[in-house]
Subunit: 439 residues, 2 copies
């Protein structure tokens, strides 16, 4: 019997809410319509395909068109699925209600974020490493601040990024003109230094063989591999940056998932304040993927070569190109960082971690080599000798499960699939059953 | 008796909630601390001073330090002060509460905005000009989309902007490297084409004497002058752009304030769809300055010189450098566009317009020549022969009223002051009394 039919006929309740994608845009041919004389930005011409997660959403929708009754399980984009804890939701609702009153109405807030929230972030996430409230800038999510950081740095800096890594680092670098040309045969941009991270080097690059760059994007716990860098690895990274006069942009969006004692912040490493910016987010920590809230830390000690503080330029960009995160979302962020809020969001994090463990156990029992998943909600599954888009397509076609092909995160992700532990428990269990049936 | 003492001793209830500013950042001297080897972005070195409104907020706080008991009235930044209508606030609260339930929880939304909201914007604001839902991109405010539009266009385009104009246009152009060097003696960037708009030309530039540029920023009703361009003026502008193959970035953030029949959208002008992007906002329309919501329209017919649609590249930037506006804010936006919501927000707009009329009448009665204020919440007051920063400082010092010096909007704003009609009625009446006492 056809497996597809089996899955289609399940009465299983799906968690599918596919991210809406922009209706397909028809590229007009030259000469059709009336063109302006404005040339297309040549940096954008260098971008390959659509943005990875837009492409995944598009494939998911395409699959649904083909199998309208399929109960698709989305373990792709890494979207949170569990309700926001009650006290946090209530704080946002109360704030929104107060906006209808003379006493509670607030207009423009500080572009850098509300003082109380900046203070709470500093005290909750950076208590032992002495980040100051004034060094915390509240954002509408770390993806947005990646672009703003690149606006700060300009197009004349050189960039390194883990390979594989979250695609916004490299795509944003391409957009601002830092990446150089794409070398199609290897799938790399010629001006980007790719820091290979795989099982062969315990997911930490060989820094002796790494060229100096101005900027080093480093994500830990890593998206997509799920590996959290150890204290020793991050000490090497900070030493490398200090010796080279580089700036690390450290992405700690998954810090809440660390369980084995690995650092949750780059500032746990001595000397990091002079070489590192940290971007982070409430998205995966508190289920704020749709509410939109994050933050960036720029230490006062971080200086350009002239001695000019990076924080001054970041502040200028925040004031000119951003106008602060939604005040309602910020009220929610503050509630997340209350003791009641923290207790509640950690329960949700634990729930996703349990999901991830179920997926790891399933895949391991099938003889598939898996990495990550201990300190992150992502499982990084190896399919030796296979193209990751092929594995992605096979899994989607045969099990109606969306994953993310590893090569979408860079050439170093080839042969891998990222499977997300975000989802309702029943979806995860059902996905496990389908994967067991497939492999 | 010292006027200041008079004002200080008033028991008048102030509306002051000064926008928090980043605690002053000490610029380190070269050689102090340990510098990285990363060079400061030379585009940022070209920016003059801080961002205008950050500077205004800083001056206001400085003033409060000098006069701790002063009842400062802020007619500067243009910040909304009236509560959000009840049904809109309730919609956001309900949405936030639903996020705590299995049925109501939502994670990532579409980067381009929720479909219902895009549809409602198209149908409410562009009903007669046939903007499609798929051409509307929801943002967290038009200031943010200005920066994202410049990321789309890159650094190799030439730019024109009204002089005076909202400072984010030119500052963002400087940041992405489009502006060239600042010519200090005239206060202009050498690669920017300044479109002089003043009483002498009915606030519309002499296009015959204007050089072609790739991009033309045009704001109507204008911030700061308050002038709404007429149908005829906008027809000239569109014809100019079509003849030159330019792209107009039309800012309609104050469209709700138009009363005398002037166009509220550039798409009311035939042929505009092939040459114009429109950015707009819920900030001044619905008091969402702190809630953060706006939108940008990119018509499908707008093409780069190669025929490649601009909408495709804008969509790519939205997906890569932005992750959608807060879903709670979007729920509020949808409520604004319901018939009940529209009725309520228009009452608030009328309230601000009445404020503006009070200010106009006061200034006119004092023999001060004023412009704007009919189609916009801003009064543009002329002080012939005087430096606008001096007028700003005198008004602040002697009346504890914050305004904005016209030259902050460009050299064409010299001799002018922008006075905002946003505020509680009692503040506006009190401000009028103080101005009467001063002049």
């Amino acid at each position: 019997m056809n497996k597809l039919l089996t899955f289609n006929s399940l009465s299983y309740s799906t968690s599918l809410q596919p991210r809406m994608v922009q209706p397909s845009l028809t590229v007009r041919k030259e000469g059709v319509g009336r063109c302006t004389k404005v040339h297309r930005n040549f940096n954008l011409e260098k971008l390959r395909n659509g943005y990875l997660f837009t492409e995944i959403a598009r494939r998911e929708l395409q699959h649904l068109e083909k199998y309208p009754n399929a109960k698709v399980i989305s373990l792709g984009i890494g979207d949170t699925t569990q309700p926001i804890p009650d006290n946090i939701s209530m704080s946002m609702a109360n704030y929104a209600r107060a906006l209808a009153t003379a006493e509670g109405y607030r207009g423009y807030g500080a572009e850098q974020g509300n003082k109380e929230l900046r203070k709470a972030i500093a005290e909750t996430h950076y208590k032992d490493v002495l980040v100051k409230e004034s060094e915390v800038f509240v954002s509408d999510g770390s993806q947005c601040d990646i672009a703003r950081l690149l606006l700060v740095l300009g197009s004349n800096v050189t960039v390194a990024a883990q390979d594989p890594s979250f695609p916004a680092y490299i795509d944003s670098s391409v957009i601002v003109g830092q990446a150089g040309d794409l070398e199609d045969e290897v799938g790399k941009y010629c001006n980007i230094e790719y820091l290979e991270c795989g099982p062969g080097n315990n997911f930490f690059p060989d820094l002796k063989g790494t060229s100096r760059t101005d900027i080093i994007f480093f994500c830990s716990p890593n998206n997509p591999t799920g590996h959290a860098a150890t204290q020793n690895q991050l000490e090497q990274l900070v030493e490398f940056a200090r010796n080279n006069g580089s700036i690390i942009i450290f992405d700690s969006a998954y810090a809440a998932y660390v369980t084995d004692g690995c650092p949750r912040s780059i500032y746990e490493i001595p000397g990091a304040r002079e070489v590192a910016i940290e971007i982070s987010s409430f998205s995966k920590f508190s289920g704020f993927t749709g509410v939109r809230l994050g933050w960036t830390v720029v230490p006062e000690e971080l200086l350009f070569s002239s001695g000019f503080p990076v924080i001054n330029d970041f502040n200028r960009i925040i004031c000119t190109c951003f106008n602060g995160a939604s005040n309602i979302a910020q009220a929610g962020g503050l509630a997340c960082l209350s003791s009641e809020g923290l207790e509640a969001v950690h329960l949700v994090v634990d729930y996703y971690k349990e999901n991830t463990k179920i997926l790891i156990d399933t895949l391991a029992s099938l003889g598939i080599k898996v990495y990550g998943g201990i300190n992150a909600p992502y499982v990084w599954a190896h399919f030796p000798g296979r193209k990751s888009w092929d594995v992605f397509a096979e899994i989607l076609e045969k099990t109606h499960i969306t994953t993310v092909p590893g090569s979408g995160f860079g050439p170093g992700g080839e042969e891998y699939i990222r499977i997300s532990g975000f989802g309702h428990r029943e979806s995860i269990l059902e996905a496990s059953r389908r994967l067991e049936a497939l492999f």
